[in-house]
């Protein structure tokens, strides 16, 4: 086994991000699309934490600014999930569907 480098973490994060993106493009159920969005947010968090750990300052500590940013991302994502799911529930009440291809009234 070779030693771990920052590139390993960035590659893992990039693969997770592209999985989430492929899910957003391919899936037609609006709730699954929302879950894939969460996957993409988490991929960004992984790369931020990896950058934090690999940037050890003169005091011998990881860079905590990145971890504070991850904390904010998690908070905002939780708020976003609450609002998004409420919108989905309101949409389901109005149209009785969660399939994106059935929601075309704004399509040009």
């Amino acid at each position: 086994m070779q030693t771990l480098t920052l590139n390993h973490y960035l590659l893992a994060s990039g693969l997770l991000f592209s999985l989430g993106f492929a899910g957003v493009m391919l899936r037609r159920n609006i709730i699954t699309i929302f879950m894939c969005l969460e996957l993409m947010l988490n991929a960004a968090n992984l790369s931020l934490v990896a950058f934090s750990r690999f940037h050890v300052g003169t005091d011998g500590l990881p860079n905590y600014n990145a971890q504070v940013l991850v904390f904010f991302i998690i908070t905002v994502a939780a708020a976003e999930v609450a609002v998004g799911l409420a919108v989905i529930v309101a949409l389901y009440r109005a149209r009785q569907t969660t399939h994106v291809e059935d929601l075309q009234s704004l399509k040009f």
């Binding site: 997770l16 957003v24 990896a50 904010f72 908070t75 529930v89």
Partner: protein
């Protein structure tokens, strides 16, 4: 972090991610997403970010995913029917994801800082929560309070959105 653990958790995380996309049943997708988040939390712990790992488990794998499962069960969703798939979306999604990974590999190859091994920490014990809290309340106090207002606005918005009749 030991390379064996890194590879195990990374492969498990990506496998659960593939399973989120491929499962037609939304409940199975959501449970795979929980697995993916737990593997990600163990990667965070391996990177000495213990606080982030804990809130990943509590907030994401706990609260957010319970909310997802609750909504899936509230809406009583059946497995997504097999419709004629959209070839443009299929080709577009695969192409953009593939191009992104290829470009990432290209960038990482010419990124000298990325090939360094794990730097050693200069301290015996890492009291991670105190250090995150120190940074949060000293250098990021205004953003922290703004996020508090954001959560308040979000919760009021959810209450307004879930009323029976929207005016």
């Amino acid at each position: 972090m030991s390379p064996v653990l890194f590879w195990a958790f990374t492969l498990l995380m990506l496998a659960f991610g593939v399973s989120v996309i491929l499962n037609r049943n939304p409940v199975a997708s959501a449970l795979s997403l929980v697995g993916s988040f737990l593997c990600l939390a163990s990667l965070f712990v391996g990177l000495d970010a213990f606080f982030i790992g804990v809130i990943q488990v509590l907030v994401y794998a706990g609260a957010v995913m319970v909310l997802f499962l609750f909504i899936i069960m509230l809406l009583d969703l059946k497995a997504e029917q097999r419709r004629r798939f959209n070839p443009i979306a299929l080709v577009g999604g695969a192409a953009v994801s593939g191009a992104f990974v290829a470009f990432l590999l290209h960038v990482l190859k010419s990124f000298p800082a990325g090939s360094r091994a794990f730097p050693n920490l200069g301290v015996e014990r890492l009291d991670d929560v105190r250090l995150v809290g120190f940074a949060l309340f000293n250098h990021f106090n205004l953003p922290f309070q703004t996020v508090g207002v954001l959560v308040l606005v979000a919760s009021i918005g959810v209450v307004v959105l879930s009323r029976r009749e929207l005016k």
